[in-house]
């Protein structure tokens, strides 16, 4: 039993935290271990995404066809540019953060304040960009038709480019309005009706001989979606269930719903990290202004929040690779 009794010698070894076996303060070391566990959480999510992607490797949506918008360039096919811009914004806010840490080492309050401010602005711009990205993804770009078994059918013109449903759907007068309370239908409930009905799409398809369809299936040699010859297309459309515009957790006009689920979950979880990072940055920013760390004699708090902020950037580097590049 004697061997398990705490002795004074033991206390001297650790000395209430003054002894630093890893050469870092308690707070910084724990920030590192928090980051480690958070990194493993994100790996779990991205790993699950990888599993599903390999499971459906022959029919996964192609990122270049999904994220094609850029502000003020309406209708221009601009894959990757916007998300590259977001990456630069986040990397740049990382740079201002590390400059703030550097200025903290020199006890330069003015510089720390200035760089912390820039970092917060960068984070806010990034969050706004992400909201815009989500808006485009939720709103959709071309529209598609879902079959009874859940597969997505998209429409292409003679040269194989995707076209919008509006461009060929035949307007009809038989449309009914949505059942809502104010129209006296208090006893039924239904979701908003699509702007274009299935019937209009199919009639429009029949009236335009030059267009055809493509499935989610990817040609492994060309890494492009397989286009179905027009003479076979009606067999697919006879199976159709609903018109789909945009993406949400239930349905996704770009293909697999799982793609949308993972996109919303992982970029949402990352965005939540950015948001909490911005909030912590704001708190530290005001503490810098009122001189808390000046009185404390060191700017280690800026360093710790800096670690978190860089970690958020690090995660984005991986999200960028796995959602947009690979």
């Amino acid at each position: 039993m004697e061997s398990t009794i705490a002795t004074n010698a033991n206390r001297d070894n650790w000395d209430g935290g003054a002894n630093k076996p890893l050469g870092a303060s308690y707070g910084k070391m724990m920030m590192w271990f928090f980051i480690l566990s958070d990194a493993l959480t994100f790996s779990g999510f991205l790993g699950a995404y990888g599993l599903m992607r390999f499971k459906f490797i022959d029919s996964w949506p192609i990122a270049d066809e999904v994220f094609t918008h850029f502000p003020f360039l309406h209708g221009v096919h601009a894959p990757m540019y916007y998300v590259a811009l977001m990456t630069f914004i986040l990397i740049f806010s990382s740079v201002t953060m590390v400059l703030a840490v550097d200025a903290g080492h020199q006890m330069n309050k003015t510089k720390v304040t200035f760089y912390m401010f820039l970092t917060i602005i960068g984070g806010a711009i990034f969050l706004g960009s992400q909201a815009w990205e989500w808006k485009n993804f939720i709103g959709g770009s071309y529209g598609a038709v879902q079959l009874n078994d859940g597969k997505i059918i998209q429409f292409v013109n003679a040269s194989g480019e995707q076209i919008t449903l509006e461009s060929f759907a035949k307007p009809s007068q038989t449309e009914r309005t949505q059942h809502i309370k104010s129209k006296g239908l208090w006893f039924v409930e239904e979701a908003a009706l699509p702007a274009i009905t299935l019937n209009e799409v199919i009639e429009g398809f029949k009236a335009h001989p030059e267009i055809t369809i493509r499935t989610e299936q990817v040609n492994p040699e060309l890494k492009e979606k397989i286009i179905i010859p027009r003479e076979n297309a009606m067999a697919y459309l006879n199976e159709s269930k609903a018109v789909v515009t945009g993406a949400n957790l239930q349905v996704n006009e770009y293909g697999k719903t799982l793609f949308a689920d993972f996109f919303f979950f992982i970029t949402g979880f990352h965005g939540f990290h950015v948001l909490s990072g911005v909030i912590i940055n704001v708190i530290v920013f005001f503490n810098v202004i009122i001189g808390t760390y000046e009185r404390r004699g060191h700017y280690e708090m800026v360093e710790k929040v800096g670690l978190y902020w860089h970690f958020v950037d690090l995660v984005w580097v991986f999200v960028f690779t796995f959602f947009y590049l690979v």
Partner: protein
């Protein structure tokens, strides 16, 4: 001041690292937009050569962020290994299992999926 650090400013290094990270991102984006066929339409280690390049470039970026922005280079070896090795080996293990299983499910499920109507 008593606490005035022996620390010299690392501003030059920071801007250099920023330059490296930007250059890598630029290369990634250009490759991602062009998708050169001799890289994209190949099969190497279970995916295309282009994807392997993206993965390597991403790891290089992660290295620069961790080592120079998070100052991992200045930490003690013990702390560095406790964090980096733990993450690296666990993630490699997890990724290997999940991706191999994903491929296997595809081998089994793929032929059963109906694509013609």
């Amino acid at each position: 001041m008593a606490h005035a650090q022996e620390h010299t400013s690392h501003t030059k290094l920071i801007w250099k690292v920023f330059g490296i990270l930007s250059a890598i991102t630029l290369v990634e984006v250009i490759l991602g937009i062009i998708k050169p066929e001799f890289l994209h339409l190949t099969n190497f280690l279970g995916t295309s050569l282009l994807n392997i390049i993206f993965l390597v470039l991403t790891l290089v970026k992660a290295y620069y962020i961790t080592w120079f922005f998070m100052h991992m280079a200045d930490e003690k070896k013990n702390l560095r290994r406790a964090v980096v090795w733990t993450a690296f080996f666990l993630i490699c293990y997890l990724a290997a299992l999940l991706l191999i299983e994903g491929s296997y499910i595809n081998d089994v499920l793929g032929p059963l999926t109906k694509w013609n109507y």
